[in-house]
Amino acid sequence: MNESIPPKEERMAALSGLGTSRKRVEDARFTQGKGNYVDDMKMPGMLFGDFVRSPYAHARIKSINTEAALSLPGVHAVLTAADLEPLGLHWMPTLAGDKQMVLADGKVLFQGQEVAYVVADDRYVADDGIQAVMVEYEELPVLVDPFKAELNDAPVLREDIADQSEGAHGPRRHPNHIFTWESGDRAATESVLSEAEVMAEEMVYYHRTHPCPLETCGCVASMDKVNGKLTVWGTFQAPHAVRTVASLISGIAEHNIRIVSPDIGGGFGNKVGVYPGYICAIVASIVTGVPVKWVEDRMDNLMATAFARDYWMQGKISATKEGKITGLWCHTTADHGAFDACADPTKFPAGFMNICTGSYDIPTAYLAVDGIYTNKAPGGVAYRCSFRVTEAAYFIERMIEVLAIKLGMDAADLRAKNFIRKDQFPYQSALGWEYDSGDYHTSWNKALAAVDYQGLRAEQAERLAAFGRGETRKLIGIGLSHFTEIVGAGPVKNCDILGLGMFDSCEIRIHPTGSAIARLGTISQGQGHATTFAQILASEIGIPAEDITLEEGDTDTAPYGLGTYGSRSTPVAGAATAMAGRKIRAKAQMIAAYLLEVHDNDVEWDVDRFSVKGAPERFKTMKEIAFASYNQAIPGVEPGLEAVSYYDPPNMTYPFGAYVCVMEIDVDTGTTEIRQFYALDDCGTRINPMIIEGQVHGGLTEALAIALGQEIAYDDQGNVTTGTLMDFFMPTAWETPNYQTDFTETPSPHHPIGAKGVGESPNVGGVPAFSNAVHDAFKSFGLTQSHMPHDHWRIWKIANSLGLHD
């Protein structure tokens, strides 16, 4: 009764499903300048709000005079903490259980802090208004160094909580101390270390940097007083969480708040948190009755919105003489700035720093993290990172190198000797994680073979000899990194943010004619969700990806989800998508069986249709089934074809990879050149290889920037010295190399399609590879550890201190 059926392969190809390098559906609008970013929005009567910011890192505010500003034509309002206080909005809760000033309440605690909010006709008048606001400050002693925070003469920063001995994460031992967080077995680890045959100790610093997406943070808030509904369009990586937080702190019922993330120009963690700019725009819209836009400028972004890293990690690692690691100890001093605004799951004040045993089978380990207040901007967000896994990976990949030096072993061999073996998965780590799957020896061997590791070492030795003979001033560094990620936060049993479980969601509606729309709780910031999630669905429900619309970011229409960061979209929302697809398929099976007049169990799935077992010529395609679901009265089956899935992952996923960086270093100028960079990533099942490769290129370039120069630096008065894109290092096409990508594929056993996520891997694994290359170049001259960023002068300093200059 049906014409001939096209071959399976042909039908699969027509779906553009899993594993195909499907071109992106987003690109049509982006390449034609038709994206819709928040600053593109224009609404009738819209005003613009912007901040008076503190020039000082620590000062008491003696007075704020807004008269002159208010008298400027076009200035509508100037908000200060005093105006917000009656609403209870002069402070706001942070994601880390602390609170943060929305507008300076009596004092300022970091340079760039929001002091007053000027609302005006447009950004020009707002800026004139900012200049006209007179603030009288009394400067206070500044605390920049976290190691001086608990000295007797240290200034007390947070007077609001100075006498509280208990914080959100347990006891506080000093007014400038936030928390101590411990993981692992301290006594056992100390005992292992004290009896160790070999022990290496080092301070590893991962400096303060910033996600710095090309689009800064901003929003448009619009309070519709007629309908009592607040809508906020903004740069939100987690729109639903923002809605709940906005409701909790404003008192507006959650159903009367709509949060929309339009197109987002990169996030990288910068757009996870809630900023004073959002709160002030909302209040200003309520006060003025018209929409209010706030878009920060680049200096504001670098100075005031969330920084990343700033972990001082003191490490000890022990091993047998043969190089079998026996124990790992780490104490981290975490500089959180003036407010603890880290964006970590609530139970993890130091994020997943306790993944710091890395790819290695380390039987005993202990980690403690002390959070400290300083006069710096708050933040501590996951910059293309799953909650401090980047710091953890850098720490262990440095400690391995330090241990290799101590042992006199090749660092590649030392890694191979200590990798968790394939047969040990699922692997229980000493610090409490269950790694889902991995095959580290395979990835490592493939990487070393691909770069001809032995050949590189021989070339390096020759170069060293030539250097010794005075024939060259350039050294070769070979930077190794084998990282294990922990992503896909996360299981609701231990992962929540402000009490919101970190599940995610997908809702699918199949239209009568066989096309579909799917909505997710996540939000793309360049990851290409509209392309890749449609691919997951295409393979699950047999509808071509091009016939599936993906929608995210509007809390009025999308199902609840915790958003996109920490490589969680594929592991969590991707899983929800597959599961919702399977519900569609289950219902479709019943419809097909009814139409084919057989029992449900007598039909089987065949790419894009159900056919009768043993009689493949009798089938119903998904297109036919979709139409039937809308026009046939099927006994016991509701009309329509829709499904929703809320997916609570049973575990995190553990992507991994093996990276090798070959670097040329000029010892006289401190300049570097990346000669080769090989990146092997294993992210489990690969959804779209083209997009994976693009993610790897981008993440590696961020890693290069971080390792070789990108920092938020402060002088001793707490002034930011890297506030523009000249000083905050972002490489251009000229400084960026071509990368060589590769992969192995070890599916996650618990993820519905075996995918693990890849977005952050290159940043996480890239930084140690670049940094290790610098260290490696100087290893034979006695260097064991030198802090990032390895910009020209710091590399020069290494060479200088090793006596390599005349």
Partner: protein
Amino acid sequence: MGKTHLKMTVNGKDVELMAEPRQLLIHVLREELNLTGAHVGCESSHCGACTVDMNGMSVKSCTVFAAQAQHAEITTIEGLGSPDGLHALQEMFKEHHGLQCGYCTPGMITRAHRLLQENSNPSEEEVRFGISGNLCRCTGYQNIVKAILAAAAKMNEMKESA
């Protein structure tokens, strides 16, 4: 200090408007003319997201006062191709995955367009040097460079067959 009467040709159309001299070209284009393709990224002429073509030059429109653009001929991303006929660069950026979040893309393509006008057959090194005034945070440039080289080849092919 009042507004100035400005006349420009934007994407082939003559436009007239009143603007304060201090208004930046990027804001005139985005807010007065609703051409929101070019973006503001750094405001200090480092990132190139605001790149438009002015009188045959690639300029960072965040660092040009509106008054300086009096009588200028301006092309923005919106003037390069249409939904029915994409410019080769637009096509190749999609084909070679030369964009992710899309924020730098209009400036990048507009810059690449001028580069290819001046050098129709650039080497990879010339492309990298030629787009070094445009920052991208997502792609690591590798696929952007590939896309521009592919667009150059395609444009040359089209020229030959014409």
